[in-house]
């Protein structure tokens, strides 16, 4: 009965070390860097755009460090705040909902490559946690689970505003999930794979980046991704002027922070998917993957050269991701909120037909080119 392929192989130790390092890296990037810093970025950016000074009150002996100390003070405040559960709320579900929201946002990153493959001392390192064949489908699957956090949170709070927010989340996610899947079919057709590492390698040539091959798919995907992220202009589930705060009205302290963190982590994931699918992943324009490794190999020798190339590629990937996060945040402060019927109409009557059209067009072009 025992499957012997799981017994230790000579490659096990380097593979385990590689896996641990990659998971630790992604976890630190998400929880340690992005989750706290993005809150500061958002406050500073909105202040800049609205001609305010912005977060600058928290200080140590008069030093405010551009408001960066607000990260610490916010975290401290959220930690010590009373954790309130309203009367009549479904306690276990109320407790569970923030966790259901955060976990999918964290694990979605597993299939996104933040670098290519490198030979280090005879061991091939692949800079992706799980190089799944189903690739993008895994992200869709995880993203569809992320809905439950908000929906259950809205239900369990025993509050009409929360319930309405939860209902809106359900309807909005359901509508845009379908469209989001279809917008990316064009990309899968062009590159002939769902695997994100394969798609990444196929974008080595600057003019074969997804944005040039699938411009319509790119625009539609951004619209769907924003809707899935529940941020302005698609933030009707938490519309302050109508629903107080929507599905997390009754949440406080750390549980509130978890909903908030889930939203930021989803944004990081969206930016990473955008980079991996449409903006050449870890590639530097006009420099091939092997080319950089060889060039670094000349400078530092084969092994340290590969490490240098690896670090450069990873850095390029994260720079692109940060650039996209900034753009995604810009959208929030630029556009007003849609009405609920407008969101639904945009999803079903504009994005979905256009996505279908994009698939047909892509198919015709591929046929013609062949």
């Amino acid at each position: 009965m025992f499957d012997y392929t799981y017994l230790p192989s000579p490659n096990l130790i380097p593979s385990l070390v590689e896996m641990m390092l990659k998971i630790m890296f992604i976890f630190t990037m998400n929880m340690g860097v992005f989750a706290p810093v993005l809150g500061w970025v958002e406050r500073k950016q909105s202040a800049l755009m609205q001609d305010r000074i912005g977060a600058n009150r928290a200080d140590i002996f008069g030093f405010t460090l551009f408001g960066l100390l607000h990260i610490a003070s916010d975290a401290l405040k959220l930690l010590v705040k009373e954790d309130f559960i309203p009367r009549g709320a479904d306690k276990p579900l109320h407790y569970l909902a923030p966790f259901i929201a955060v976990v999918p946002a964290l694990v979605a990153f597993a299939v996104i490559p933040f670098g290519g493959k490198y030979m280090l001392w005879g061991h091939e390192a692949n800079l992706v946690i799980a190089d799944l064949n189903v690739g993008m489908l895994y992200i869709f699957a995880v993203a569809s689970l992320a809905t439950y956090g908000a929906v259950i949170g809205g239900w369990a709070s025993n509050n009409s505003w929360s319930l309405l927010g939860g209902l809106r989340v359900g309807a909005q996610m359901l509508s845009y999930e379908v469209a989001m899947g279809l917008t990316l079919v064009g990309i899968f057709m062009v590159y002939g794979s769902l695997q994100l590492t394969t798609i990444g390698m196929a974008q080595e040539n600057f003019f074969r980046w997804g944005i040039f091959l699938q411009p319509l798919g790119f625009i539609l995907f951004i619209a769907c991704a924003l809707a899935e992220n529940k941020r302005t202009p698609f933030d009707i589930p938490e519309a302050e002027s109508e629903l107080i705060a929507g599905y997390f009205t009754e949440y406080s302290g750390l549980k509130f922070a978890m909903f908030w963190m889930a939203e930021f982590l989803e944004m990081v994931t969206i930016a990473a998917v955008l980079v991996a699918l449409f903006f050449g992943g870890w590639h530097i324009p006009f420099i091939t993957h092997q080319g950089l490794i060889d060039a670094m190999g000349h400078l530092f020798g084969p092994n340290f050269g590969a490490i240098a190339a690896m670090l450069i590629h990873a850095a390029v990937f994260w720079i692109k991701v940060v650039a996209w996060i900034v753009i995604l945040m810009l959208i929030r402060w630029s556009l007003p909120r849609f009405r609920f019927d407008q969101v639904m109409r945009l999803g079903w009557k504009i994005v979905l037909p256009l996505a279908l059209m994009n698939i047909v067009l892509t198919g015709l072009i591929i046929l013609a080119v062949r």
């Binding site: 064949n133 189903v134 489908l137 569809s144 689970l145 439950y148 239900w155 996610m173």
Partner: protein, 165 residues
């Protein structure tokens, strides 16, 4: 290791399935069903059928159950005493007895020795390419007929929705 994961998912799936039927609260039932479907997806993934696993989570646990939850929330179904079955102890006992009989009959017919030896699946088993190829060659007709059926269902839904306006 593999066996452990299998038992973990298997027991969780059984537990959530039974708990789903036993639960008095519609929302809890729906959530347990999601858990059940998620466990099934885990079992599929363990068999190497990654595409089926991803689709199981995406379509069933993701899309369809969101719809179920949406309807439950929309109608605001809270815990009600009337939901629990009113059948007597006798009826329940008979039901359990019949189920037990069926299961023992099935198990006794199973002759482990007669089962063919397990074959190692092909290297690309369960991958998107392998399933896609089979779907568009060997099973093209059923595939197309299913899509026509789904189209008919969509048209039907639109007609039903339009009537009310």
């Amino acid at each position: 290791m593999q066996l452990l994961i299998f038992y973990g998912f298997g027991f969780l799936a059984l537990f959530s399935g039974i708990a789903m039927i036993m639960s008095r609260q519609p929302v809890t039932s729906a959530l347990l069903m999601i858990l059940n479907m998620f466990c099934l997806a885990g079992l599929y993934a363990q068999l190497g059928a990654h595409l089926i696993a991803a689709l199981q989570v995406m379509v069933y646990a993701g899309a369809i159950m969101v719809l179920v939850l949406f309807v439950i929330m929309f109608l605001n179904l809270r815990e009600k005493a009337g939901i629990v079955s009113k059948h007597g102890v006798m009826t329940q006992a008979v039901g359990i007895a019949v189920l037990g009989f069926v299961i023992t009959a099935m198990v006794s017919k199973l002759d482990m020795a007669k089962l063919p030896a397990a074959k190692a699946p092909a290297a690309d088993f369960g991958s998107v390419v392998a399933i896609g190829r089979v779907l568009f060659t060997d099973y093209l007709l059923p595939f197309e007929i299913t899509s026509v059926l789904l189209l008919a269902a969509i048209v039907g839904a639109v007609v039903l929705a339009k009537r009310k306006v």
